[in-house]
């Protein structure tokens, strides 16, 4: 069982991990402790592997600093469902192997604190006995997710996914 952490519009990467908590200003191992540390201080304490982030529009806007999605990955976030993602965050999350779903209907159906069951590979999330089919991801994204990260994919295959 996993819980939903729901956020609003325009959550920027400085809210996810403020610049001054970046890995080298602190320590790399501590990175997951700083996810939403100022914006939502209970998050790093209570988040559990498998939890799902749900957000409205433009999630991850702002800086390209990759430790924002990296911190979420290290917290064990299993997927992020949003109305839309800022594009650099979108790339970073895919490259790091975090499943993303752009699905406004699912966003509307999911509330903060909901207990859910997620099957990211199948694109399915179950809440209160109701199963929501998420919009499927492009093939090359599925390839990256299956390999782990894009770096893993290129190391293993010697080429870009989807070629």
């Amino acid at each position: 069982m996993a819980r939903v952490w729901k956020f609003g519009d325009d959550i920027d990467t400085d809210q996810i991990v403020p610049g001054r908590y970046s890995p080298y200003m602190t320590s790399d191992a501590d990175l997951p402790k700083y996810a939403f540390i100022e914006f939502r201080p209970e998050f790093p304490k209570e988040v559990r592997p498998g939890d799902v982030i749900v957000a409205e529009d433009n999630f991850g806007c702002g800086s390209s600093r990759e430790y924002a999605p990296l911190a979420l990955k290290r917290c064990g976030i299993a997927a992020i469902v949003a109305n839309s993602f800022a594009r650099i965050f979108f790339r970073n999350a895919i490259n790091l192997g975090i499943p993303l779903f752009e699905d406004p209907a699912a966003v509307q159906a999911l509330n903060d604190g909901d207990v859910v069951e997620l099957d990211a590979a199948a694109g399915r999330i179950t809440v209160g006995g109701r199963t929501i089919e998420l919009r499927p991801q492009p093939r090359f994204v599925q390839d990256i997710l299956a390999a782990g990260t894009i770096a893993d994919y290129i190391r293993d295959h010697g080429r870009f996914p989807g070629e």
């Binding site: 325009d10 920027d12 400085d14 809210q15 403020p18 610049g19 001054r20 970046s22 890995p23 080298y24 200003m25 602190t26 100022e38 914006f39 529009d57 433009n58 806007c61 702002g62 800086s63 390209s64 600093r65 990759e66 430790y67 999605p69 990296l70 839309s84 800022a86 594009r87 650099i88 790339r91 970073n92 490259n95 790091l96 492009p138 090359f140 990260t149 894009i150 770096a151 893993d152 290129i154 190391r155 870009f160 996914p161 989807g162 070629e163």
Partner: protein, 419 residues
């Protein structure tokens, strides 16, 4: 069917006759950029890919501009890591203290970016180089690791959105006001996944510094790139900076745009973005009740020579308000030297401003001007998110150099006409 400049550049770089918005391509890159906070992760991921050498040392730029001169031991370690990688890989375009400038001011100035090129950088403001007619976009460190290893990158060809600004600019209004006004209209995701393309007589009359300021903030509307047509201003700017040849691409008259915005330059006032989003704009003249604690004039958005000239012109013979700390940061060593030679530094220091070595420092709340609880800052930087420049309760008001300099003197948000 007509094609946009973005589609043409990406087609040429992916070995295709033509590509269309929405397609995924694998494009070759002409320059790969990272800085002292994004390069270390890229270097780590580069190691994981399992190649020994970067694809082309001359096409990698590593710029230690964020926490330099190093503010503490951790940031010094980080720069050391980048420095050692650059030396080990024989990367000529490694920029350290003494040569370094803020990356997006430095690369165009050094002739490292040319029209028609594809540039990717592990910094969201890489879109700045669209001012030169290059297709440039920000990415994360892992993307940059892949690009350093392969010389290629996966990309979705963006739809384009046209922003047309016609007419003559009002006094003191510059590129910053035009882009803030545009973002205020379209919103922080108004250009999401899209290339913004700027056109019109007001754009044509804009200097390269003004264009770089505008392209720089395309990302603040969610844009993937901020494109300008190559014209005589571009040619004059590029001339003498490099011997490399370049290709010029232009959008066809019947190119397809998903949206077109029209603005009249005479309707665009000196503009400020209030906390906590760049889209939260208002005319500067309507914010005179906002008292400020700090003014910052610098950054990859507004740290170029024209910006420093505007600041010095307004502050010469005047004094920074006693309740204000005014920090001026010429973006590169060349701009710094030019500012000294033109007497701008003297005017600023006599007015009571400090003039800093090039650094991104205060813009991201790193160093060189962090805000305390509840403090307000007028800043020529590009982001005013919660806590961006310091304490969570501090506030950042984004503006161009004319408003920032006038506000520093007045002690509150104001415009040059009030001085």
């Amino acid at each position: 069917m007509g094609r946009t400049i973005s589609e043409k550049i990406l087609a040429a770089h992916s070995g295709r006759q033509e590509v269309q918005a929405g397609e995924f391509v694998e494009a070759s890159v002409d320059m790969v950029l990272a800085n002292d906070i994004t390069a270390p992760i890229a270097i780590r991921e580069f190691g994981r890919i399992g190649v020994d050498r970067v694809f082309d040392p001359a096409k990698v730029s590593l710029v230690c501009d964020h926490f330099t001169p190093n503010k503490d031991i951790n940031s010094a370690q980080q720069c050391k890591l980048v420095r050692e990688f650059a030396r080990g890989q024989d990367i000529p375009n490694f920029y350290d203290v003494g040569r370094v400038g803020i990356e997006h001011a430095l690369l165009p100035e050094q002739g490292l970016v040319l029209p028609g090129e594809v540039v990717v950088g592990a910094d969201s403001h890489t879109c700045t180089y669209g001012a030169l007619g290059a297709f440039a976009t920000g990415m994360g460190s892992t993307d940059i690791a892949v690009a350093m290893a392969t010389g290629r990158i996966w990309m979705r060809v963006p739809e384009s959105m046209l922003v047309v600004i016609e007419g003559e600019l009002q006094p003191w209004v510059g590129g910053k006001d035009l882009i803030l006004h545009t973002i205020g209209d379209v919103g922080v995701d108004g250009a999401l996944y899209r290339a913004m393309e700027f056109r019109g007589s007001a754009i044509e009359s804009l200097s390269m510094d003004g264009r770089l300021t505008m392209a720089n903030m395309a990302i603040e509307a969610g844009g993937k790139a901020g494109m300008f047509a190559v014209d005589q201003t571009t040619v004059d700017y590029v001339k003498g900076r490099t011997q490399r040849p370049c290709m010029v691409y232009a959008s066809d008259p019947d190119a397809v745009y998903v949206d077109v915005k029209h603005y009249r330059a005479q309707d665009i006032p000196l503009t400020v973005s209030r906390p906590h989003l760049p889209s939260n704009t208002a005319p500067a003249a309507e914010l005179s009740s906002v008292a400020i604690d700090q003014a910052v004039i610098g950054s990859c958005t507004n740290g170029r020579i024209e910006d420093i000239r505007v600041a010095a012109e307004l502050m010469r013979g005047r004094k920074v308000h006693p309740y204000v700390r005014c920090i001026v940061i010429p973006a590169t060593q060349d701009i710094y030297l030019q500012s000294v030679r033109e007497g701008l530094v003297e005017a600023l220091v006599e007015a009571g401003a400090v003039v800093s070595t090039p650094t991104c420092g205060p813009c991201l709340g790193g160093h060189m001007g962090i805000l305390a609880e509840g403090e307000k800052c007028v800043s020529t930087t590009n982001r005013n998110f919660v806590g961006r420049m310091g304490a969570r309760t501090s506030e950042v008001y984004l503006a161009g150099p004319a408003v920032a300099a006038a506000s520093a003197v007045l002690g509150r948000i104001g415009i040059p006409q009030e001085l």
